[in-house]
């Protein structure tokens, strides 16, 4: 048994839960306090220390340790926060569910798919979409809110046989909500955000998308208030398909530039 395992078993479940709750309490200042508390807490029983261990630092850093009930704790914390906010009249019992429902029914990739399908069928629309995205989108029959939250100023980057576009946000997770809904996990993960900026072709290959060296890649980093999406190329073998059938082929990944359609 490693000393680390012994150390963990020395703390009572309550102590563990308490320390781990502290670790979750990371408003900027509190985070430092929580870290200091964890480092100062007795991590192991003195009687179990061998002479060799005694010469090592008494409290090895625990920074990358997660509580065993990491998700249960977060789930309880989120429920606790929501219920307190409802009781205190900040939000209602319906607020969170109505927000989630809005993204299931009003703002989502189903809107972007319709925009792309129209662009595939109508070259004039496609050109306008690239030049004045909001004006082009406003001509379509889509739910209210296509210039709403996180879509107030959208731009479309149009792929061609010689150009592939990729949208990223290296500072956070800016994403065009009205046409794409909410960003998938990979888009928000620091690894994608870091690597896609410097080596987009390598990253795309990991996504299973092989962009030949002859094709130029343009990467758009969403650092101000403009929100970007990609208009992928129309796939071969789709002649004669209706706009509705074409829209069903369009994926969120295609509209962020990490997949072909």
């Amino acid at each position: 048994m490693s000393s680390e395992t012994t150390d963990r078993s020395a703390a009572s479940p309550q102590e563990l839960a308490s320390a781990q709750e502290n670790a979750l309490r990371f408003s900027r200042r509190n985070l430092l306090i929580a870290g200091a508390t964890a480092a100062a807490s007795p991590a192991f029983a003195p009687g179990s220390v061998t002479p060799a261990q005694a010469q090592a630092p008494a409290t090895p850093p625990q920074r990358f340790e997660y509580p065993p009930n990491r998700e249960a704790l977060s789930a309880a914390r989120a429920k606790a926060l929501e219920s307190l906010l409802i009781e205190k009249g900040v939000i209602t019992g319906q607020s969170v569910d109505s927000v989630l429902s809005f993204f299931e029914t009003q703002m989502g990739p189903f809107n972007g798919a319709k925009v792309v399908a129209r662009a595939w069928l109508d070259p004039a629309f496609k050109q306008r979409l690239g030049e004045d995205t909001p004006a082009a989108i406003a001509t379509l029959d889509l739910p209210k809110g296509m210039a709403g939250a996180e879509g107030e100023h959208m731009r479309a980057a149009v792929n061609s046989p010689t150009l592939h576009n990729l949208v990223i946000c290296t500072l956070c997770s800016c994403y065009p909500w009205p046409v794409l809904g909410l960003p998938p996990y990979w888009y928000k993960d620091p690894t994608f955000r870091s690597r896609a900026a410097r080596e987009p072709r390598v990253v795309l290959k990991e996504f299973g998308l092989d962009i030949p060296p002859s094709v130029e890649i343009k990467t758009w980093d969403s650092s101000a208030q403009i929100r970007w999406f990609v208009v992928p190329e129309r796939p071969a073998g789709t002649d004669g398909m209706s706009e509705g059938e074409l829209a069903k082929l369009v994926t969120p990944e295609g509209m962020m530039g990490v997949a072909k359609v």
Partner: protein
Amino acid sequence: MKLQHYLGGLEGLGPIDFEKRVFVQDWEKRIFGIHVAMMALSTQLPLPATPSKFKTVWTWADLRKGAESLNPFDYFKFRYYEKWLGGISGYFVSNGYITQEELDARTQQFLSATPPAPAAGGDPAIDQRINTYLVEGDSPKRSGAMTPKFAKGEKVYVKNVPSVEHTRLPGYLRDHVGIVDTVYPGLYTYLTNTGPDGVGDAMPVYCVQFDPQTIWKGNTDAKAEIYADLYEAYLEKVN
């Protein structure tokens, strides 16, 4: 230098987790919904008042500031919505809406074998305002007499502005030269004033093209360009 501002181009991070789900745990949906409600009820928005007790400002800038201010090790340690949960909980405590003791006690109740029933009720006008915010958005675009300093095709130098807790200038572009690709019509505010960093007031915004070879020489794609939307305060003339 804050690592979180320099994520673009960071090396050695390994393969990408191509997880397509938005929320990888159910609880993440709840904190997302709370965040949207807070943005919609935030007092600076020109929307009808509601009976909500939320009487302060909360925007993306507040959420981002929290994440950017973290110890960088913790930034990587905590998953995306874990950072939200910590930042938003901390906000409600430090602004006096709830106490830490209440939150801890209620958390323990939800962890127990007999969790409380979900809370209910509230004035529908609150949810109406949240819906209005989602539909109408919060455009930062303004009109004004300010003329853009730079023109399409012009070379611009990206300043290395003082490092503060929150910025909209990606670190990898600092001290590099780019070419203006688009001068956006109108002026754009930012959600908060970033002080010596320089954004907040209405100003022109540009889409600027950069050659990755000048940023990551010999260690990037041979046939690629990277573009960023940048506030004018971050740019100056190339001498």
